[in-house]
Each structure stands twice: as structure tokens, then as C-alpha cells.
């Protein structure tokens, strides 16, 4: 028994020594060598962008040998949840790659650095739509990486088949009429591939429809105005397209893109990243480029085209100890002309800065890219900066689905409005 006790104690001591030795080695490793800057992003994780990200990292570290960029893989769908957990756990990455409407929860947690000191001189170079999203009470909480203006894509052959010009209608009346006509072509045709899956993204894609019918989410004072004639009209249209098979049901982003790329859909709402996606999913490569067109959203009852954007943004966590180096990488990736051209060539990513958009690389563009640049000024990346906006979008997604399945728009609008106001504490 004494021998057993002795062996047990020796085992514990051995493990303790091993752990202490490992910790010492880690500390020694951290003391010497280049400064490490970590970045959470989904782009190094995705097959379509992994090689590009590794090349950007290589070029950056060649230019700045004293900075070592370390990617932390973060799935796109999990970006908010993983970021929240890492911030709460006290170990967020130095740079966090998000989309425009994501950072507000982090702002409420006090987790984001004000980037104004580093970007004050460049504010005029950022499109209004992108800047509006990143500014909260004079603080610059996020900087845009690439434009993600959501536009309307239209399949030319379907427009031609119903006797319409091969362009996106410039008002909602004509747009809805075109959707109806294309749906009537055959059972396999849909006029519009709405995002109809139960996801907050689907709710976000519903916002241009609300705007186009004169509706809105909140007023200038931040008061929720979901129960309005405009939004009820938008829900009524969704009821029409859902119950008369003008849109496929249960479609999330990948399925709706696939359907559009296969040519059986009239219109799709999506962003400039569709350029390489269409080439890939259609199976036609660049041959698909002339087969579709794009434009900013049709004009609403007030004569304005108003859309949304899903701009990619970068934030620096407040807990980062290497903020200067983190900003150096952000500027390299988002502002270096060679890198932004490279990013565009690989992913169709339009640089966020107006001075870069004026470069020769962007002089001959597909309709899609031109529409994204044109729509950038009037697009909104954050209809609400309330940290509960993500949860509010869940209610909107449920309401939207209820409309698609034939629910009463007035009742849905009222119930959703009440649920969101309760959530917001109004």
C-alpha cells in the first residue's frame, strides 16, 4: 500500500512538472520572434478562398517580417456565436472578420476598439452606406473590407421568354409583374428565389422588400415601426409568392443560388461575390457572365432605391495587445492596391474605398459589380444598431415564413411588432 501511494504521488508530481515545463516553453516562445496578430475569419476555412488568404498572409509577412498573422478558423454561420463566446472567455482574436450588422452586440459588451485614431483621415474615401454602419456616436467601430451591396440579379433568358427587356425593372410594380410572368412559364420556373429558410439571414433579405413597399424597421428615434401599411404590403406580397409558387419554399442561401445558377429562376437578391459563385455553380465558367444582369433595387413609392448591404467589416478587439500591428494588417488587406486587385480577381471582392474603385481594374465590369458600386451609397448595412437586432431578425424570419405559408399579413405584422418591441424593451 505504501508503495502504491508513493507511485501515485510520483505520477502527480510528474504531470505537474510536465505542465510547468510546457508553460515555461510557451512563455519563452512568446518573448522572442515576430509579433503575432490573430484574426478570426471564415475565409481561410472555405475552400474557395483558402489559397487566396494564404497568399495574402505570405505577401503581408514578406512586407512586414516583424508581424506574424495567425488565422483562427471561424465558420460563417457561427461567426457571431463564436465571437461572443471568445470575448466572454477573454480570448478573442485581435482582428475579427464580420459582416456589417454583426458588431453591435460586441459594442454593447464594450469589446471593440474605436478605430477612429487610425482611420480619421480616410473617412471621406468610404462610401456613405458603409460609413453609416461603422459609426456609432463618433466612434468608428468597424472598417469595411469589401463592398457587399446586395443587388437584384436577373436571368436574361427568362426575361426574354416573357417578352420583357433584359434588364432589372426599375420599380416594384414592374418587378412583381415580371416575377408573376416568369413563374407562369412552367412548373419548374420561379419568378424569384427568395430566401425562405428559417434563418436570420432570410429576414435580412426581406428588408429591401419592406423598403420597396414603403415600410421600415425603426424610425429615426429607434422606435420599432414594423406594424405599418408598407410592411403589411410586403408581407402580403410574400404571401402571394409563397402560396402561388412564384418562389421555392425552404430555400437557404446555397440552394437559392444554385437554383438561379441553373437558370430556372427570374430574380435573386445577392451580392458581388456571386461573380465567381455563378461561374462555379452554373458549370459554365465565364460563359455564364453574359447570361445574367444586375442592378440596384427597384425604386419604392418615394421614388428612391433603397437596399441593404452585407459589407465585410473588420473590427479590432479591445483586449488586443497588438492594435497597431492589427491595423497594419487591416490596411494592407483592405487598402493595398495590389492586394485588393488580387482579392477582386479571386473572389469578385470590390474594394470598399472609393479611390481604389477608380482604378483601371474596375473600369470594365460586369453589371453585377457595377450595380454593387452604384448601390453602395444608398444601401444600409445595419437597419438597427440595437444589440438585440439578431434576435429581432429571428422574429421577422418566423413572420416572413408565416406569410409565405398563407398567414394574415396584418396579424403577422402586429405580432412581430409586439415581439420585437418587447425584446427591445419598448
Amino acid at each position: 500500500m505504501k508503495r502504491t501511494l508513493l507511485v501515485t504521488i510520483m505520477l502527480f508530481a510528474g504531470f505537474a512538472l510536465l505542465y510547468a515545463g510546457g508553460a515555461q516553453e510557451k512563455a519563452a516562445g512568446e518573448a522572442a520572434g515576430p509579433v503575432k496578430v490573430s484574426m478570426s475569419s471564415w475565409m481561410p476555412l472555405q475552400e474557395v478562398s483558402r489559397d487566396m488568404m494564404l497568399e495574402i498572409e505570405r505577401r503581408f509577412e514578406k512586407t512586414y517580417p516583424d508581424i506574424d498573422v495567425v488565422y483562427v478558423d471561424m465558420p460563417f454561420e457561427q461567426r457571431i456565436q463564436q465571437t461572443l463566446v471568445s470575448v466572454s472567455g477573454g480570448n478573442p482574436s485581435d482582428i475579427i472578420h464580420l459582416t456589417a450588422s454583426d458588431p453591435f452586440q460586441l459594442v454593447a459588451m464594450g469589446a471593440i476598439t474605436d478605430l477612429m485614431p487610425w482611420f480619421r483621415d480616410q473617412l471621406d474615401d468610404i462610401p456613405d452606406g458603409a460609413l453609416r454602419t461603422g459609426l456609432i456616436e463618433e466612434q468608428l467601430i468597424s472598417v469595411p473590407l469589401q463592398l457587399g451591396t446586395i443587388v437584384v440579379l436577373g436571368m436574361k433568358k427568362n426575361l426574354k421568354a416573357v417578352g420583357l427587356p433584359e434588364r432589372i425593372p426599375d420599380n416594384w410594380v414592374d418587378f412583381k409583374s415580371a416575377v408573376r410572368k416568369i413563374s407562369a412559364l412552367s412548373e419548374k420556373h420561379y419568378g424569384f428565389a427568395a430566401r425562405t429558410a428559417k434563418h436570420e439571414n432570410s429576414a435580412y433579405w426581406f428588408f429591401p422588400v419592406m423598403y420597396g413597399h414603403g415600410g421600415d424597421f425603426e424610425d429615426a428615434d429607434g422606435k420599432i415601426v414594423f406594424d405599418s401599411p408598407g410592411n403589411r404590403a410586403a408581407l402580403a406580397w410574400y404571401r402571394e409568392i409563397g402560396t402561388t409558387k412564384q418562389t421555392p419554399m425552404g430555400m437557404a442561401i446555397p440552394e437559392s443560388r444554385n437554383l438561379f445558377a441553373q437558370g430556372s429562376v427570374g430574380f435573386l437578391f445577392d451580392g458581388p461575390w456571386m461573380l465567381p459563385i455563378m461561374r462555379n455553380q452554373s458549370g459554365k465558367g465565364e460563359g455564364i457572365d453574359p447570361e445574367y444582369t444586375a442592378a440596384p433595387f427597384p425604386k419604392g413609392p418615394d421614388g428612391r432605391s433603397r437596399g441593404i448591404n452585407n459589407n465585410h467589416v473588420l473590427v479590432v478587439s479591445k483586449q488586443s495587445k497588438v492594435k497597431d500591428q492589427a491595423v497594419t494588417f487591416i490596411k494592407f488587406w483592405s487598402q493595398d492596391p495590389e492586394i485588393t486587385d488580387f482579392h477582386f480577381s479571386k473572389m469578385g471582392a470590390i474594394p470598399a474605398y472609393k479611390s481604389l474603385q477608380a482604378r483601371p481594374t474596375y473600369s470594365k465590369l460586369h453589371d453585377l459589380t457595377r450595380a454593387a458600386i452604384e448601390g453602395a451609397e444608398t444601401s444600409d448595412g445595419a437597419p438597427s444598431k440595437n444589440p438585440q437586432f439578431s434576435a429581432a431578425k429571428e422574429f421577422i424570419a418566423a413572420g416572413m415564413q408565416a406569410a409565405l405559408l398563407g398567414g394574415d399579413p396584418a396579424q403577422i405584422a402586429a405580432q412581430t411588432d409586439l415581439a420585437i418591441r418587447t425584446l427591445y424593451g419598448q
Binding site: 500500500m1 457571431i80 434563418h199 421555392p248 430555400m251 440552394e255 444554385n258 439578431s390 434576435a391
Partner: protein
């Protein structure tokens, strides 16, 4: 003196407890602390944005019970789980009985069915998501090719169809477990009793209900309980296939807790949902123990 009389020194008596300390520490950290913390959290207004343990009593529970979505979620969980378990039991029992007899390629068939169970859950969910796609899915293609359906069935986009799809996927996934467990239990049924009953004139149905079922009853109850617990916890399959939609028709307690916590950022509220879930399963476990113990008492 008493210690020496027992032949055990202090060290000898302390050693077992010392050796238990690591396991107890791990168990305490991984099991007890989260459980107690979760229950305490349910009585606070803790959120990610205001991470403070502010005591609010039973307010989370009061607002939860007033929320119609919660009741719909609870009903969904019970409906989906118990429907799936009944289907798993029926199919698992049928397969076990089949594999207990001498059929050709029994080994290969057994392996093939077992393969379903060892497939990672997310892989299975993704495969079903693709198969059930209303536009591209192979299931619609087969149904129309066989003339069973005239149009595409929207498996995941309509409430009733989405529920049925989930039950089907759960049943597909859980049947192998039932099959394996029941097959093992069937091996314990004494063949002498079965042979004797045949001589006495008992038909197959009578042998099944009077002899076989009593022998495998405890295993069936255990499998059902384990399956219920597992399905109550499922987040992966619901999230991948329907994300709780359409509307809230397939939102289960597990998904609701996740969304309250990581979308709504309401940790206290999420914990209160978790506590109700815990109570429900606790009642089920008590029911199981009484059922099994009663059976043993009878034996």
C-alpha cells in the same frame, strides 16, 4: 489499537479516497458545477451584454410560461421525440427479430444497418438535407419517377412535412441502436422455453407476447429512455435540416435554449428553459426507475 485490530493503517484507509480525488474533481468541474451554475443562472437576468448575476427570482420562469412560443416548443419536443422513439422501437424490434432468424447475408445486413449509427450526426444531417431538398433532392425524384407524387414535395419548407421529415430522420438514425440492443437481449431468451411453448401449441404471436417480450422488456424500456434523452438533446439535426422552422414548427427545447442564449443573448432566460427541460427528464427517469424496479419486484 482498533486500527491495528482491523489490520488497516490510516494510510491504507485514506488511499482509496485519495485515488478518487481526481475523478471527483473532474466530475465536479464537468458535471456538478455547470448543473448548479445553470440552475442559479435561471434565477438571474444575466446576459452577454450585461454579464452580472442580478437575482430576479422566478421572473424568467413567469415570462417563459406566459410565452406561447415556449409551449409550442415543448409540444414539438414531446411530439417529435416520442413519435421517433415509437418508430425506432417498431423498426428496431422488427429488424432484430429478422436478424435473429437464419436469413441469407445476415452479417452484411447487420453491418450495413449498424453503419448508420456510427455515421457522424452532422454528416447524416447534411446528407438528408440534400436528399430532402424540394428542387434537387433525390427523394422527390424517386417519388415522381415511381409515380407516387405528381409534384415536388416541400419536405423542409412546410410545417407538417418538416415534422414528418425530422421524425423520419430520427427514426433512421436511432433504429440501429434499438436493433443491436434488442438483438443482444433476444440471445438471452432460453430456447428450451420457446421450444416447449411450440410443443404446447403456442403460435408465433403468442410466443412473441407471452415469452419473448417479458424477457426483453427491461432492455426495451432502457433503449426508449436513452433514446428520449438523446433526442431531447439534439440540436444538430434540427439546425441543419430546418433551423427550427418553418415558423416554430420544429423548434425543440434544445434549439430554443441555444437561440435564447446565443441569438437573444439572454443567458438567464435560456437557463430557465434548460431547468424546465431538466425537470421533465427527471420525471421521466423517476418513472423509468419505478417501472423497472416494479418489474424486478415481480420477478
Amino acid at each position: 489499537m482498533a486500527r491495528r485490530a482491523l489490520g488497516l493503517s490510516l494510510t491504507d484507509r485514506a488511499l482509496p479516497y485519495l485515488l478518487l480525488v481526481p475523478a471527483l474533481l473532474v466530475g465536479g468541474v464537468v458535471l456538478v458545477y455547470p448543473l448548479v451554475n445553470g440552475i442559479l443562472l435561471s434565477f438571474t437576468s444575466y446576459t452577454f451584454i450585461q454579464p452580472q448575476y442580478k437575482w430576479i427570482g422566478v421572473r424568467n420562469f413567469a415570462s417563459l410560461f406566459k410565452d406561447p412560443i415556449y409551449w409550442e416548443v415543448l409540444l414539438n419536443t414531446v411530439t417529435l421525440t416520442f413519435s421517433a422513439v415509437i418508430l425506432q422501437l417498431a423498426l428496431g424490434l422488427a429488424l432484430a427479430l429478422l436478424l435473429n432468424s437464419s436469413i441469407p447475408f445476415r452479417g452484411g445486413f447487420r453491418g450495413g444497418v449498424f453503419f448508420i449509427w456510427i455515421m457522424p450526426e452532422i454528416v447524416a444531417a447534411l446528407i438528408w438535407m440534400i436528399m430532402l431538398n424540394s428542387e434537387f433532392g433525390i427523394l422527390n425524384f424517386l417519388l415522381q419517377w415511381l409515380g407516387i407524387a405528381k409534384h415536388n414535395v416541400v419536405w423542409l419548407g412546410r410545417p407538417l412535412e418538416a415534422k414528418a421529415s425530422l421524425i423520419m430522420v430520427y427514426a433512421w438514425r436511432g433504429t440501429p441502436f434499438f436493433m443491436v440492443m434488442i438483438l443482444a437481449a433476444l440471445q438471452t431468451v432460453p430456447s428450451t422455453i420457446v421450444d416447449a411453448s411450440k410443443i404446447d401449441g403456442a403460435n408465433a404471436v403468442q410466443r412473441f407476447f407471452v415469452i419473448i417480450i417479458p424477457y426483453i422488456r427491461d432492455i426495451i424500456i432502457l433503449c426508449c429512455l436513452l433514446s428520449v434523452v438523446r433526442l431531447f438533446q439534439d440540436v444538430t439535426q434540427v439546425t441543419i435540416l430546418t433551423n427550427g422552422g418553418p415558423i416554430y414548427s420544429t423548434t425543440t427545447l434544445a434549439v430554443h435554449v441555444y437561440k435564447q442564449a446565443f441569438v437573444g443573448l439572454q443567458m438567464g432566460r435560456a437557463a430557465s428553459v434548460g431547468v424546465t427541460w431538466l425537470i421533465f427528464l427527471f420525471v421521466l427517469a423517476v418513472f423509468y426507475i419505478r417501472l423497472v424496479t416494479k418489474g424486478e419486484f415481480r420477478k
